[in-house]
Symmetry: C2
Subunit: 347 residues, 2 copies
């Protein structure tokens, strides 16, 4: 079968690899019908040393179950399913607390911890299939597929930012980042009733989509100028909630500048730093809280799916390009160049 | 009048200073009947350079109102009052959100921002008296005074740790630090219904008091050994809530080691660091949250006072020594040497 491998920064290839097969009784083999490239894939695409490669890529997909292990009971051959970006048994203590990304039985939990498997491929072996996979009530060629595919990562991740930040009615929110996650954090903040949603981003096609998703204000300035602009929009105090959907240190510093005393910075962009300011002068003095982490998107699929199925929301609009597997390397480069917001892959 | 000044680390003196007087219409002049030395006073006592001194000390007191400015309406001459460690108008947007430590109109808010005033003295000018002071329904010689004095800082601060950490029924809590704040965080966690309260401290007289306040377990080991012990006590996962009542980096690192995935580290010890680990390997991977800051003790006084007045709790047990003003310098040294837990001062 064909699959995507990253050899090092800037070097992504689609190659023939051994067919994925069911290995454990809890596995399912899924023939992938829709996959995509993630903003988080761009971090290794920018910096991965060749010593760490080649690695299989992709952690968001929809596909048709082709075979199941003997212990699998919730999905069967022929089902169309979506997989969250983290594997989970959906039964352990952490999963029962809706923290599927810390599942006790998922051996790390992320696709990059599953050797020789990935979502940017023709097929994939899914461990813990009963917990991980969710059956979709549509056909593989449904026009809803792009929106349903966002449940695997970017929509659930944006939603997690908003939920972890405690967004509710009367909340003023700033979203940092106009990538797919940031735009879907805007959508989630709107669904949760936020009163004001300020989107910080400088790519107009993206911020226009952000306005469609519910942004009430767009701030294209960054750094000190961006901070001042947000303060001007909020009576000088900043917003109760800042959804940090980038992961770079300047985004965190920007969040510190615009969060209101007593407010919360909710991070879902994978931090590209380990140490950061959290002392008296940054978080502590004004009781600023810090929240977020890898989104337990599995916990949100059932909650978010009905609004997609009934057409009231269309998170799939974050996909602005579609390619086959052979176009995946160019898709990485287009996303890195910000020519594409998010690339849908049809293997 | 007599007041306490710190000249530099290790050099605290009680000297004659100009009498405090009412200056603003919103001021009250309070004759202090009970004050104390704070664990946070020990940070400058350990490290303050002489160039920063002399500074007036003390931010916790009970006293009798002697004079009020023309705009003061809620307290009057002769009232016994308690002052929180932060000044506030109790009416601004932040105060209405119970975040009195970020009061918009308090010009910084802490006593060290009020020139020539302090609580370790015979008298003090209290700005924003209507917002700051709370009348006490007892006499100045009441046996309840030590417990009521804890409402000014240490009890409210311990309570804030527990509230900001989201302690409730069925919560497992670890408290790091056996100082007065840590012990009163234990008491607050008990009042909020915590299921398990692990107190980390190595001074037995203090941890014994912690058991009286509600600690279910005491762990005297620190660092990796302490972390392992807490994990053993909690089925391997650590506790949902860690109340970090010290402020030193090793305490924060210990908190990282014992907080459960999805849990919260609530800090009320003033951080003696600015940068700290918060990236993928520390907070982010398992959705660990960070909360806390200077406690808005003003917000908690009415809530916590009834249980003191009816005798059901006795937070004043954290005072294990009493002195006059002349004994304050020795009191600092005794607290620095951990001979005294907390020194009550009767000017």
């Amino acid at each position: 079968m064909r699959a995507t491998l990253m050899y090092e920064a800037g070097d992504v290839r689609v190659e023939d690899v051994p067919d994925s097969v069911v290995k454990e009784p809890t596995d399912a083999l899924v023939r992938i019908t829709a996959s995509c490239i993630c903003g988080s894939d761009l971090w290794p695409y920018a910096s991965m040393p060749s010593a760490d490669g080649p690695v299989r890529m992709g952690h968001e997909f929809i596909g048709i179950v082709e075979e199941t292990g003997s212990a699998v009971t919730t999905v069967k051959r022929g089902d169309l399913v979506v997989a969250p970006f983290a594997i989970s048994d959906n039964t352990c203590a952490f999963c029962r607390e809706d923290l599927h990304t810390s599942c006790e039985n998922a051996q790390g939990g992320f696709w990059d911890g599953i050797p020789e498997e990935g979502g940017q491929a023709e097929a994939v072996r899914v461990p813990l299939a009963d917990g991980t996979l969710v059956k979709l009530p549509v056909a593989a060629d449904s026009a809803l597929v792009p929106s349903l595919l966002t449940l695997s990562d970017v929509f659930g991740t944006g939603h997690h930012a908003a939920v972890a930040g405690g967004v509710g009615e009367h909340t003023r929110v700033t979203v940092i980042g106009d990538g797919a996650v940031g735009l879907l954090a805007v959508l989630s903040a709107r669904l949760l009733g936020a009163e004001q949603i300020i989107l910080m981003g400088r790519h107009q096609a993206r911020t226009d989509l952000g306005r469609d998703f519910g942004a009430t204000d767009v701030v294209s300035a960054r750094g000190e100028e961006g901070i001042e602009t947000v303060r001007d929009l909020t009576g000088g105090h900043g917003t109760h909630v800042v959804l940090e959907c980038v992961g770079a240190m300047p985004a965190y510093e920007q969040a510190l500048g615009i969060v209101r005393p007593g407010g919360v910075i909710s991070r879902v962009g994978v931090p590209q730093y380990e140490e950061a300011p959290i002392g008296f002068g940054s978080l502590f003095r004004h009781n600023i809280r810090l929240a977020g982490g890898p989104a337990p998107t599995r916990a949100y699929i059932e909650e978010l799916m009905p609004a997609i199925l009934d057409g009231s929301i269309d998170p799939g609009r974050v996909f602005d390009a579609t390619t086959g597997l052979d176009g995946v390397p160019a898709g990485y480069q287009d996303m890195a160049d910000r020519k594409s917001l998010k690339v849908l892959v049809k293997p």
